[in-house]
């Protein structure tokens, strides 16, 4: 069995600029993500890292190149088949959470399932919320949840279909440092259980949690290295805790 969840070959995304000029947001990128990997795509803003992630996650179509997801060539699929792939094989976590307003956590997590052929929607969604530690927030609306909790609802939504791979685009971008660490700890837990994760970030501190770091600049991969000593979010949190307690007791 093919051990690559993702195999992108010579992927490019070219935007037409006004006046006939062209901008290559992603230029001839070839990348493989293996099953069970935790990879961070890093780069400055405008480097093309998000565009690359959108292509790898089938949210956007590449201008050229080939993309195999779980062994299936997706660049030739129809819109309908792509929707099916997104539904079954991919989970997304966005910077701005993208939860439906006025819709409780449970219904937000159920969202991917209503487009699937699964039947025990409610049970699966509850289970996913439990796995991110929100069993007691099932009937809360996003407006009643903290940023960290909202992002965890979004992660539960990404997990609920049991996808092959989870893409997270700046998942900590809208969070304070404590909530960020909680989210990073959650990703590490998931990865330890075997979940494949691709994280996109411009913050080196966040990228350091991944076991592989891919650097992007000007739409090209400039380095692709194993991270020998990934940061462990759990440890960082316990280091943070006494300080806060001390702060509160002062």
């Amino acid at each position: 069995m093919n051990n690559n969840v993702i195999q992108g070959t010579n992927l490019a995304k070219i935007y037409n600029k006004g006046g006939g000029g062209e901008v290559g947001a992603v230029q001839n990128v070839s990348v493989e993500i293996r099953r069970g990997e935790y990879a961070a795509i890093m780069g400055a803003s405008g480097s093309g890292k998000s565009t690359l992630m959108n292509i790898l996650g089938c949210l956007d179509k590449p201008t050229s190149g080939s993309l195999k997801l779980d062994g299936i060539e997706v660049s030739t699929l129809t819109d309908e088949e792509l929707a099916r792939v997104r539904n079954k094989k991919i989970g997304f976590v966005f910077q701005s959470f993208n939860l439906l307003a006025r819709t409780n956590a449970l219904e937000n997590v159920e969202l991917p399932l209503i487009y699937s052929d699964k039947t025990d929607i409610s049970r699966l969604a509850r289970h996913a919320l439990e796995s991110v530690g929100l069993a007691d927030r099932v009937h809360h609306n996003p407006s009643e949840l903290s940023g960290g909790q909202q992002q965890r609802v979004a992660i539960a939504r990404a997990l609920v279909t049991d996808p092959e791979i989870i893409f997270a685009d700046e998942p900590t971008g809208n969070l304070d440092s404590k909530s960020s660490l909680e989210i990073m700890a959650l990703f590490q837990q998931l990865n330890e259980k075997g979940r494949t994760i691709v994280l996109v970030t411009h913050e080196p501190d966040i990228a350091q949690h991944a076991r592989r770091i891919i650097q992007i600049a000007d739409g090209r991969i400039v380095s692709d290295e194993v991270n020998p000593n990934p940061r462990v979010a759990e440890q960082e949190m316990s280091a943070l805790l006494p300080k806060e307690v001390a702060h509160e007791n002062r």
Partner: protein, 404 residues
């Protein structure tokens, strides 16, 4: 995605945006309420016209003295003197299709007094045949008899309006009243008949024997008109031609001279009444169409705004696996649910409004379910078409473009 799930999504979406849903619905509600009310009023008016025509009688004709007289038009200037009692008798004798005739004389603006009270009404001199020919008899007391005719009796039968004005709720039978300077005993009260095809009050009348009328009240030797009851409503034109020929011969009219009488058939009465109602109806239909279009535009606008506003939601749904048609169906069901619900509410409000209007204004109302249903279908279509285009556009985007 299963239809049940899409429906659930659509209804949840509506429930979560109550203001938007309300605004969308209110346009349709107003449109359909107005339509229901207006169509009810129009249909009610039409029904009333048909009622009036039936009052005139479908198997009857009217011969008026004088040329070019139209039903319901007040006689101007000199009264026509061309029709005689003899004419009526001859019509009944000579023309086979004529079942009965009711000749009558008429004097408008007559002063009538009872003790200190007085009123102005129309005095009719009639024969006993009036009752069967018009299918219109005394409700209380008795109608005029043949004996009254030959005795030139000074008795009268009054209409309910006259009764109300002079006697209120008291029993008028046996009382004496004065028409001009002549004293009459009240013999009976007529059945109420309401409004005539032309819109006059058919109950504001006093009936006296035709002979008494000609000799003692009007002092004339002619009559105003003859109401004719036919054996059949078929061959109306043939009968009219026969009557025309007979009267021309009796009046010794040379070929080329115009008629000195006018024959009116139910067809003409219907036409006249429809002319009045028709103008009314065109206006109403115009108002109804405008209100429906306005309602449709409101739904269209809000649908358009809603779809644009919800691009992010569409992008998210697509990102988690919604197909293009799932999105389109969701918006379609939302629009249909809103406009359909709005339509039903509109019909109910309109029907209630029609009943209230009927109670307060005496305007006849008749709810026509067919046209109202058509209105609902139309507004639903507008809502769907308005929602479909932007939803299609948003659903066709790459998920990331919609999410941005």
């Amino acid at each position: 995605m299963k239809t049940g799930r899409v429906l659930k999504v659509a209804f949840k979406g509506l429930g979560k945006n109550k203001l938007r849903t309300f605004l969308m619905m209110i346009g349709i509600v107003i449109g359909i309420t107005a339509l229901t009310l207006i169509v009810s009023a129009g249909l009610g008016a039409q029904n009333r016209v048909m009622e009036r025509v039936k009052k005139f009688g479908l198997e009857s004709m009217m011969v008026f003295a004088g040329a070019g007289r139209e039903v319901g038009q007040p006689t101007s200037g000199q009264p026509a003197t061309t029709l005689s009692l003899e004419d009526a008798t001859m019509l009944k004798q000579e023309i086979k299709t004529v079942a009965d005739v009711a000749p009558f004389g008429r004097k408008g603006q007559s002063e009538v007094k009872f003790q200190e009270k007085s009123t102005t009404t129309t005095v009719f001199g009639v024969t006993p045949s009036w009752a069967p020919v018009w299918d219109w008899d005394a409700a209380e007391g008795d109608f005029i008899t043949d004996e009254d005719m030959s005795n030139l009796a000074r008795i009268c039968v009054i209409g309910p309006t006259v009764q109300k004005e002079l006697f209120g709720t008291a029993n008028p039978i046996g009382e004496q009243l004065r028409i001009g300077s002549v004293q009459f005993e009240i013999r009976g009260v007529m059945q109420a008949k309401g409004t005539s095809p032309a819109g006059g009050d058919m109950d504001d009348r006093i009936y006296i024997p035709l002979t008494t009328f000609m000799r003692r009240v009007a002092n004339v030797d002619y009559i105003s008109a003859i109401k004719i009851r036919l054996n059949t409503s078929k061959d109306m034109a043939k009968t009219a031609a026969d009557i025309n020929a007979l009267l021309r011969e009796r009046h010794k009219l040379a070929v080329g001279t115009p008629d000195d009488f006018t024959i009116t058939t139910p067809t003409e009465v219907t036409k006249m009444a429809e002319k009045v109602a028709g103008t009314f109806n065109i206006f109403l239909v115009l108002v109804a169409v405008i209100s429906l279009i306005a309602g449709g535009v409101v739904v269209a606008n809000i649908m358009l705004i809603s779809v644009n506003e919800r691009r992010k939601e569409i992008g998210l749904r697509k990102a988690v696996g919604a197909r293009r048609k799932d999105i389109i169906r969701q918006f379609l069901y939302e629009a249909t649910a809103v406009t359909l619900t709005g339509g039903v509410i509109g019909i109910v409000l309109g029907a209630i409004g029609a009943k209230i209007l009927e109670a307060f204004t005496q305007m006849p109302m008749a709810v026509s379910w067919e046209s109202v249903a058509l209105g609902v279908v139309f507004s639903t279509l507008v809502g769907i078409l308005a929602g479909l285009q932007p939803a299609k556009k948003a659903a066709a985007l790459q998920p990331i473009e919609a999410l941005r």
